[in-house]
Amino acid sequence: MKQFFLDGAPVPFEDGDTLMAAATRAGHQVPHLCWHPQLAPSGACRLCTVQVDGRMTAACTTRASEGLEVHNHTPELTALRRQLTQMLFVEGNHYCPGCEKSGNCELQSTAYALGMADMRHDLLMPQRPVDASHPDLWLDHNRCILCKLCLRASRELDGKDVFAIGGYGAHTQLLVNAPDGRLGASALQADDHAAHICPVGALLPKRRGFGIPIGQRNCDTTPPPPLPQDADHGPT
């Protein structure tokens, strides 16, 4: 079987595999927020940036090829990924202590794994609305990281077309396909894949707060393995 090398370890792959798909299947961890094994890759979050032949590339959109030497866990990549994570925190309004997703949040656990201890930049503090119009779900744009997992799950797994992306640059936002643009009038249902795929606390079920206490949640009990740390520069 064909293989490439991830930090020196051989990873078998099939034709058409991305680095991410093959590495994940082989039990390796490549940090990511917008990738999901059941969905077409997007390449938006860039957390899975790896180094191939000295060039940086996203593992989720790069096709595997025979003998490729891929660097995944290096101090340099950890620093870049931490910066990207800080960017996502800075861009939205992410307040972990008050968020129901805390302990189950991919953004939060990624930040911990990368040793993120501060935001590094001034918060952008955007003013974004909360959409509570749906009987079973609520959508908090303040926490949306534009990973488009819900959008793709709705189209690819649910056979619906509930979400779209609107705007550009700093104004990029998740749109809801409904006459009034709100979730309540959309085709989204509580048991859709799209309703459960959000990696952060942007799309959450209603009336199910704190069923599992913080401290006993997924990322609390099985924290991601620590990554090689670099010297965290900070203003002194």
Partner: protein, 601 residues
């Protein structure tokens, strides 16, 4: 919705057979009648093309020239390139706003007479400050007198057709012509040469010429054509030839001149490509800012059809069927990236695609698609006619032939200069009459900034590759301001798809804003470096990767301009507490000295 508006939308939908991949054209044509795109229009369009209303809104809200809020019946956008600002555009804009009683960038009431705003460079840097009217017409060489007269005519609700013609006059300003600008436009001679030589031999000739793409990346043109020609074709598919006339790089306007003077040569080059590739479909992707060229370009296409140079059986050759449609963009810099351009052609948001598959394999509607720059097609047409040896007689070994440069900024003779590749920066500066230049931005904000000690360097792939912008900055200019302005441009033009570009361009701008206020420290410069390095390596597309080039170059070459903005020994917050108290001052109706923090020492 008024019946007339409903009818307009229905007519436009009918004209495009309700095809979803025509969405950008549908929205543009509807808006030419309705001025903006209210929700009922979007709903009717969504229904007409069979897409969700959110998808249609998502497309409409991506492009800067589609308005989801009302704009005035006279909607005026000032070209906001740094060279326009150097010519005083910002103060003229203020004068116009004052005369019209509006605020720049402020939303207009439905049915309002006029609105004024800013837009990225409109490609008239040699005759600015320039204005774009209703995204259909341009006004050049604005000055205080013109602004006052313009305001009077708008207030009198005079139609633009009654305005002085010289306001809309666009000069070509060809200052130096070589083979591309100096030859008569090709009206079939290159195609006849291809007929005689054959498709494969033409491609061989192109390969021998070593022509490289003129859009900036410099990919060998023949290799691109070969890859597209070799790509497998699915049943019912054709190969597609696309001319990238989305000349969005600030400071570039040479394609505007080619499309004005050499449109035949551009279309001839596309048709040569079609013959070589076996393509039946062609598009000219014309940037929205050049909408004013649409009637003349359509007339050229019609004439070529009449002369048997387009359409079925070109030059009487059985099976040589090819035609060109013009797709007008709607204001999005990123659409200059070829896969984003194809997305836009397909009626979608112009975000760059994941590659592979490359456009030459799967491009427009999944078909093998060859995208080349306007100037590349012109050069290819001439090479098809005259051969590779003739082309290689100009330029250098790695950079064959000639290249057009759009020269603007602090010089006596702004305009288009065609030189053999390999010309020195100093030569161009001399010829354009630059006044005490301290810097040149070559290739636009995504290109290279050069300082005086580097003016002996040469424009070409061996040294400084360029897409054709050449902005001159005299000693009186503050290069920090230039870099600050470019940061504003990229923050405005980021497509928003990937984290490092979407957030990074904003963070760069915030830091630059902070420096501009004199709140900078060495730490802020360190952070700018870090952002530059991050964005250079991790973005989804090449535009994000080059968005901090100007910053990197100016930091390196004009350190004192940045240091002057970073007087603080230690980091100070970017947060301005006094500014944050403005709502409290408004609420209490106070604006006296005691209501400001800095007076409370």
């Amino acid at each position: 919705m008024e019946p007339s508006q409903q009818d307009t939308v229905a007519q436009v939908l009918h004209r495009h057979a309700g095809q979803a991949h025509r969405l950008v054209q549908i929205l543009r044509e509807v808006q030419e009648h309705t001025h903006w795109l209210p929700a009922p229009v979007l709903e009717q369009v969504a229904q007409g093309v069979g897409l969700g209303v959110a998808t249609v809104r998502g497309v409409a809200s991506f492009y800067r020239f589609f308005h989801l809020q009302p704009v005035g019946r006279y909607h005026l956008l000032w070209s906001d390139n740094t060279t326009d600002r150097m010519l005083g555009s910002r103060s003229l804009a203020e004068q116009l706003c004052k005369a019209l009683g509006v605020q720049a960038g402020a939303p207009a009431a439905p049915g309002a007479l006029a609105s004024v705003g800013y837009t990225s460079c409109t490609g008239l840097g040699d005759q600015g400050p320039a204005l774009l009217l209703n995204q259909q017409q341009v006004l050049t060489r604005m000055d205080g007198t013109r602004v006052q007269e313009l305001a009077q005519r708008i207030l009198a609700q005079e139609p633009p057709s009654a305005w002085p013609e010289e306001w809309m006059q666009v000069e070509d300003h060809v200052r130096r012509a070589d083979v591309l600008l100096g030859s008569p436009a090709l009206e079939g001679s290159a195609l006849r040469a291809v007929r005689g030589r054959g498709a494969q031999a033409t491609l061989d000739e192109l390969a021998a010429s070593n022509l490289r793409g003129r859009g900036g990346a410099g990919f060998p043109t023949a290799r691109k054509w070969q890859a597209c020609r070799d790509a497998p074709l699915a049943p019912g598919h054709t190969r597609v030839v696309v001319c990238n006339a989305d000349e969005g790089e600030p400071g570039t306007f040479k394609d505007r001149v080619l499309l004005s003077r050499q449109a035949d040569t551009v279309f001839e080059g596309m048709t040569v490509a079609a013959r070589v590739l076996g393509a039946r479909t062609g598009f000219l992707y014309l940037r929205g800012e050049y909408r004013y060229l649409l009637p003349s370009l359509r007339a050229v296409l019609a004439r070529r059809r009449t002369h048997g140079l387009l359409g079925p059986r070109i030059l009487g050759i059985e099976g040589f069927d090819f035609d060109i449609d013009i797709h007008v963009g709607a204001g999005a810099y990123v659409c200059g990236e070829e896969s984003a351009l194809i997305e836009s052609l397909e009626g979608k948001r112009g975000t760059p695609r994941i590659r592979p598959p490359f456009p030459v394999e799967q491009g427009y509607l999944g078909q093998p698609t060859c995208v080349n720059n306007v100037e590349t097609f012109c050069a290819a047409a001439h090479i098809a006619l005259q051969g590779s040896a003739w082309w290689k007689g100009r330029g250098t070994a790695q950079s064959t032939g000639t290249k057009l440069h759009s020269v603007s900024g602090d010089c006596a003779r702004p305009g288009v200069y065609e030189y053999p590749l390999g010309v020195s920066v100093a030569q161009v500066l001399h010829d354009c009459g630059a006044h005490e230049p301290q810097a040149v931005q070559v290739g636009g904000p995504s290109g290279t900034c050069l300082a005086a000690p580097e003016f002996k360097r040469r424009l070409g792939f061996e040294d400084i590759p360029t897409a054709g912008a050449f902005m001159v900055f005299g000693v009186q200019r503050d290069m920090f301001e230039v870099a600050h302005h470019f940061a504003q441009f990229f923050a405005h033009e980021s497509c928003g798809f990937c984290t490092p570009c979407r957030v990074g361009t904003q963070l760069v701008l915030r830091r630059m804003d902070k420096l501009a206020l004199g709140h900078g420290s060495p730490w802020d410069l360190h952070e700018l470096h870090a952002l530059e390095q991050l964005m250079h390596g991790t973005t989804h597309c090449g535009l994000g990767a080059t968005a901090t080039h100007a910053l990197r170059d100016t930091l390196q070459r004009f350190g004192p301009a940045f240091a002057a903005r970073s007087p603080q020994a230690h980091l100070v917050p970017g947060f301005d507490l006094d500014a944050e108290l403005a709502p409290a001052r408004r609420a209490t109706g106070r604006n006296d000295a005691q209501a400001h923090l800095d007076t409370l020492e």
